[in-house]
Symmetry: C2
Subunit: 156 residues, 2 copies
Amino acid sequence: MPAITEVTIRRARREDVSIIVAMLADDPLGGGRERIEDPLPQCYFTAFATIDRDPNIQLVVAEDGEGAVVGCLQLCILPGLSSQGASRGLIEDVRVASHCRSRGIGEQMVQWAIAEARAKECKLVELLTHHSRVDAQRFYERLGFARSHVGMTLRF
Amino acid sequence: MPAITEVTIRRARREDVSIIVAMLADDPLGGGRERIEDPLPQCYFTAFATIDRDPNIQLVVAEDGEGAVVGCLQLCILPGLSSQGASRGLIEDVRVASHCRSRGIGEQMVQWAIAEARAKECKLVELLTHHSRVDAQRFYERLGFARSHVGMTLRF
């Protein structure tokens, strides 16, 4: 069993975009959807600027002791009327660099997101995980999530 | 088979909050989470103000020919880095007034949300629906959604 890698969770910066996209692409499901080119296509930087100025969205990275980015996660705080006007936290795009898995990095990121959602007075944190990601589902169950919903998608 | 009720989809206004909350409460799952009091608790109006000033969130209602509010839906447009920096549409809090069901109102609202997400250049629309809402899942499948994901929740 590899040791736990303690990470620092910090807000993503423009210079992290390449490594975040590389982690998104290094994935059996997401890989085919990305364009890994040098330089990276402008669409990623445009999207980053939109995320970065949105006060409800936090795109964060996990940084190891040497300052290397080894994970990413996006948390959206969504207001709503239901549950007495409670906000919800939506977790998306969770990735850990393939050479750093099973070291507790994903758990530290998700625990950060849960704490942040609580601090923002959310009553619920939710996420969608593809049916095929059985390990991810076990991971989230271990952190207290319930497989309560069906996640439905329509891709254009 | 009841006739289709043609509805107008429009942005929700502060004076719609009571009827929206009544629809959210008139539900086997959501009912116990709301507080239907007269006057309605301030928390709902505070949440409405937050939603209303968020440029990424549209809370809409369906209005019938007589101007009665018979449905509601919330659409969030969420930027992200994945899929080449594509935004996603998240549909939440879909309700049709219980005396107006099976008249195509939900379909008109969801089709509005799909069209709006396309217009905002989303590549994906996603939603979570509780496991027990089997009719809702069939409804979304009929509109082209796939049961592709597990929806996981952590309630505080």
